[in-house]
């Protein structure tokens, strides 16, 4: 195995593009090293991107936030501005693993690992986040939902690296929230994850909303019918029931060691309702 630590994105993409065998990007390593340990992968090349200038920082601009690919999730929680604007995204990022994992793991890694149960992905999808991709043929920006194609598989082409996650500036009266269900209180992989992002009008009526679910289908899913169920409402009981029903209906889960089909369907609706209420409150709704 070769280990490289390039100082620039250009060098990183060149290394990845030129790799003969299997090549992997190392940022936090909390998925990569586990897969190496388990013998699931045997990289010929590991490209550590942490020495790339600027890739380890969170930048705030007039358009919103740019979160570098090597920013550990713990650092997201330490950014007051980010936490204020996107509390749901930050709380999702901070649910990944323990404090020890938090010190290493990144949301870009969480996304590119392409697990159906990734905690940060539903929150990023609900937030309509985009990713900046650098590659041998130049850069491109795509929506977060276009990255993961299937479990373990992304739309990234050979030599490409996700450089950063981009989050828009928030309109007034906006809030987001992410909840997940795990059997213990910490350390588990999500059995169900639900993210809600919404914006209210002056009267406190939901003007726009996005609802996303994790761990209930091969990839995280955006549930438009669930969002529509709460748009135009103040999250009254029937609206929340319709939201829960739409979420349960959208699930295409499996029975596995972490949960059953019935459980995931039911709890997806329950969590979406609870997340919607938190997001609503954060947006200033009463």
């Amino acid at each position: 195995m070769h280990y490289e630590r390039p100082g620039s994105i250009k060098d990183a993409t060149r290394l990845l593009n030129g790799a003969k065998g299997s090549a992997y990007v190392l940022a936090g390593g909390s998925d990569l090293l586990v897969r190496m340990k388990g013998g699931f992968i045997e990289p010929d090349l590991v490209v550590d991107i942490k020495a790339i200038k600027g890739i380890g920082t969170i930048r705030k601009s007039s358009n919103g936030f740019t979160i570098g690919a090597a920013v550990p999730c713990a650092e997201m929680a330490e950014s007051a501005a980010l936490k204020k604007a996107w509390p749901g995204v930050v709380e999702a990022a901070n649910l990944i693993g323990s404090k020890q994992i938090q010190g290493r793991c990144t949301i870009v890694g969480n996304l590119c690992n392409a697990s159906p149960a990734a905690d940060s992905v539903p929150a990023l999808m609900a937030a309509e986040a985009k990713v900046a991709i650098a590659g041998p043929k130049g850069s491109r920006t795509i929506a977060v939902d276009k990255v993961v194609k299937a479990p373990g598989s992304t739309s990234l082409r050979k030599g490409e690296i996700v450089e950063a996650v981009l989050l828009d500036k928030r309109p007034l009266r906006s809030g987001d929230a992410y909840l997940r269900f795990i059997p213990r209180t910490e350390m588990d992989i999500a059995v169900v994850g639900a993210a809600v992002n919404l914006t209210l009008d002056k009267e406190g009526v939901v003007k726009s909303a996005r609802v996303s679910l994790g761990a209930v289908a091969p990839t995280a899913i955006l549930v438009r019918r669930a969002a529509n169920a709460i748009i135009g409402t103040k999250l009254d009981g029937p609206a929340l029931e319709r939201l829960a029903e739409a979420c349960s209906a959208a699930c295409k889960p499996i029975d596995d060691k972490r949960g059953t089909i019935e459980f995931r369907k039911k709890v997806a609706g329950v969590l979406a309702g609870r997340a919607a209420k938190i997001a609503y409150k954060r947006a200033g709704g009463k």
Binding site: M1, H2, Y3, L26, G29, K37, D48, K99, I101, T185
Partner: protein, 158 residues
Amino acid sequence: MTAIAVSTTINGDDIEVLCQTEETLLDVLRDRLGLTGAKEGCGTGDCGACSVIVDGRLVCACLVLGAEAEGRRIETIEGMAKGDELHPLQSSFLEHAALQCGVCTPGFLIAAKDLLERNPDPSEEEIRFALAGNLCRCTGYDKIVRAVQDAATVMKGG
């Protein structure tokens, strides 16, 4: 060429070590440098027994490549006491009998030290969630939590 020379700082000492590229920081500490205080309980970041601090961040040494230690500052359990003088957390763990088998203890101490440096006055709930990445199978955590609470009081000068 898959061996790599790494220059790093461990508990304040400058260290140079040659390791294989796929070796973890935990392998390097334990097998190359004889620092066996950090334990491998799982090798997958689930138990926290290998907790160390890298550039001020609490991490599992089993999920860091040895090669990544280049130019970093690493703190391990072996550096926690200052000579003969135990860290207040170490004393508190002893006084509260917060260890039975003791294999998880180095990881708990490092994680608790990281917690108290960030939050000198944590609630019981904050302590429990901050230490959730460290598994203990002997104690039921009761005496560990009490030891951390007490150490926090001592460190605040109470």
